[in-house]
Amino acid sequence: MTNKTQVIKDFTKKSVLVSRVFAASVADVWRAYTEAELLNQWWGPAPWHAETKTMNFAVGGYWLYAMVSPEGQKHWGRMNYMAIQHHKHFEMEDYFCDESGELDELLPVSSGQMVFTEMVDGTKVEFKMIYPTEADLQKIVEMGFEQGITICLDQLEELIQNHKIK
C-alpha cells in the first residue's frame, strides 16, 4: 500500500492539511464522509469510536456526534456544514460541544475544507483545518498527540498481552 497519510502543518497560515488517497470511487468515499452509519464506523480512531446523535448533511445542517472512549467516556463534537458541492467538496465549521450541541468555549473552533479529487488509482481527500490562532492549532495537535499516544500504548498493550499468552 502506498496510500500514506500526509500531514502538513502550516504555522503561518494556522492550518493543518491531512491528505490521503483511497482505493475507491469518489461516490463511495463521499458517502463514507457524509452518511452517519458509515462515519460511525471509522471517524473515531480505535480504541475510540464515533456515535452519531443527529446528522443532517445539508447547507445549514450539522452532524452532532460523540467520540466514545473504551471506558464509555464521551467527547461531543459538532460539524456545521457551510457549503456543499456534490462529490467535489464541502466546507464546515468544527468544534467541541456538549450533548445538546452547545459550543464548548474553552476549545478552539476550526473552519475546514474537505476536497475530493478523482485520481487514476482512486480518490484523494484533502482535509484542511484552519484555526483562529497558532495557539489553537497547537492545542489541537496536542490533543491528537494524546490520542495518538493512546493508540501507540494500546498497540503495545496488545503486544504484551499476546506475548503473555504464548
Binding site: 496510500n3 475507491a24 471509522w42 480505535a46
Partner: protein, 108 residues
C-alpha cells in the same frame, strides 16, 4: 508576560525558517548569513538569538570566527510531535479503507 521559547515558536517565523535552511546546508558565519537577507544585521542576529535559545542553532568558535550550526536533533522534536497526530489520522483512514471495501462488497 512569560516569553515562550520552544522549537515551534522558532519555526513560526519565515526569516528563521530561511536561516535554518541556509545553515542546514553548511555552518555559516554571522556575516555570510546576513548577506542573504535584506534586513539589518541586527535583525538577523536577533533571530539567531531566538534560534540559539531554542537549541536549533549551536555556535562554534573557530579561530576568530563564530560559526552557526544547525542542530538536527532538536528539529526532530517537531517531526516527532506531529507523528502521533499523523498516526491518529492513519488509524482513522485504515478504518475508512475497511468501510469502503464493505461498501463495494455490498454493491455486488
Amino acid at each position: 508576560m512569560e516569553i515562550r521559547r520552544d522549537v515551534f515558536q522558532a519555526i513560526a517565523d519565515p526569516t528563521r525558517r530561511a536561516i535554518l535552511s541556509l545553515i542546514a546546508i553548511h555552518a555559516m558565519t554571522p556575516n555570510a548569513l546576513a548577506e542573504h537577507f535584506d534586513t539589518s544585521r541586527q535583525a538577523v542576529s536577533k533571530h539567531i538569538k531566538i534560534l540559539t535559545e531554542c537549541q536549533l542553532v549551536q555556535q562554534q568558535i573557530s579561530g576568530r570566527e563564530i560559526y552557526y550550526h544547525f542542530n538536527p536533533n532538536k528539529m526532530k522534536e517537531v517531526a516527532d510531535f506531529i507523528e502521533p497526530f499523523r498516526r491518529m489520522w492513519e488509524t482513522k483512514f485504515n478504518q475508512l479503507d475497511y468501510v469502503l471495501s464493505t461498501i463495494k462488497k455490498n454493491k455486488k
